[in-house]
Symmetry: C2
Subunit: 162 residues, 2 copies
DNA sequence: CCTTTATGGATGTATAATGTCCATAATAAA
DNA sequence: TTTATTATGGACATTATACATCCATAAAGG
């Protein structure tokens, strides 16, 4: 289980955009050469980010990409969910058909009396989902802007750094 | 990014063992039919768990598997690391060769003055690792015994439930 | 000895991730 | 309006990984 390389490249591309963000557009060639990947490959990633409203794209000369909203409103979780998909980290195996009875969650258990739909989930899934939520809350709290704020001062300058 | 089905099956198999755990051995056939998977497939999983000291195995008639230690000392994290491997959720892409300078962590930053080796990691990796640690601490705190303790009372009985 | 059981190698298949190429559309600049 | 520039999306090829099975072997109990 690992994050895909595409997710890493998406994050680095967004950091690049956030750095250049003066309402300017950055072309795929600048982005891809900066990351050391092919432009045909990176353009797939950027296209996903655009479909999800993370970036805007414009065609034509002096076109390219820009962030669709401020960098402090683009979280790591946003980016990961676009690239990796929104499926949960763990899904029950056989529609509960073959779980050991001990793994079945008690439907009356304390936290679940409010009638949440996950009451029927097996306890394995309950733990896995809890773990995922822990991770997601951390990823939601860290934004592209966070990276800029914590970058080494030597790296902060007007032009692009390559 | 998802946990493999093997991880889910490993967890369910261990829950089954924990339930039957009176120093008894449970054969691969009972386990695999309980989970609804083939025994040849599940035996690979059990073999990994044995190599990592999660379960013990014995051959011969009336042989089979048993937990190698109490269920409250087998965490979800233990099992996941055996089946999924111990690689980190995120690895830097190109040995730092192509990161945007802004993504480089400041080596002198506050939390890192103590000289931790991760000082050189890029900030993307730092966030991803932080997220992973959040998830791991949750998974470390939840054990096979936790599942038994939270199971519906109707499921708790002497024999196997299938 | 013979049955039962786990083990590990070899192998096959399915699915997903990675990466490239090309035709097309849209736009700004000349 | 033409032309150069740029993003887009389909099709495709290439791995890598997960999933799954079969079989020969070894170990232990009856």
């Amino acid at each position: 289980m690992q994050f895909s390389k595409s997710t890493g490249n998406a994050l680095h591309a967004l950091i690049h955009l956030a750095h250049s963000d003066r309402g300017q557009h950055v072309g795929i060639k600048e982005l891809s050469s900066s990351l050391g990947v092919s432009d045909s490959y990176l353009s797939k990633i950027m296209s996903k980010l655009r479909q999800d409203g993370i970036v805007r794209a414009s065609t034509g000369a002096s076109g390219g990409y820009e962030l669709a909203r401020p960098a402090d409103r683009i979280s790591f979780l946003d980016v990961i969910q676009v690239i990796e998909g929104r499926q949960q980290l763990y899904e029950c195996l056989n529609a509960n058909a073959h779980h050991h009875p001990l793994a079945e969650a008690a439907e009356w258990s304390e936290e679940e009396e409010s009638g949440h739909p996950e009451s029927k989930d097996c306890l394995v899934k309950k733990v896995m989902n809890g773990a995922e939520l822990q991770m997601q809350s951390y990823l939601r709290a860290h934004t592209i802007q966070w990276v800029l704020d914590h970058a080494s001062p030597g790296s902060i300058r007007g032009g692009n750094g390559e």
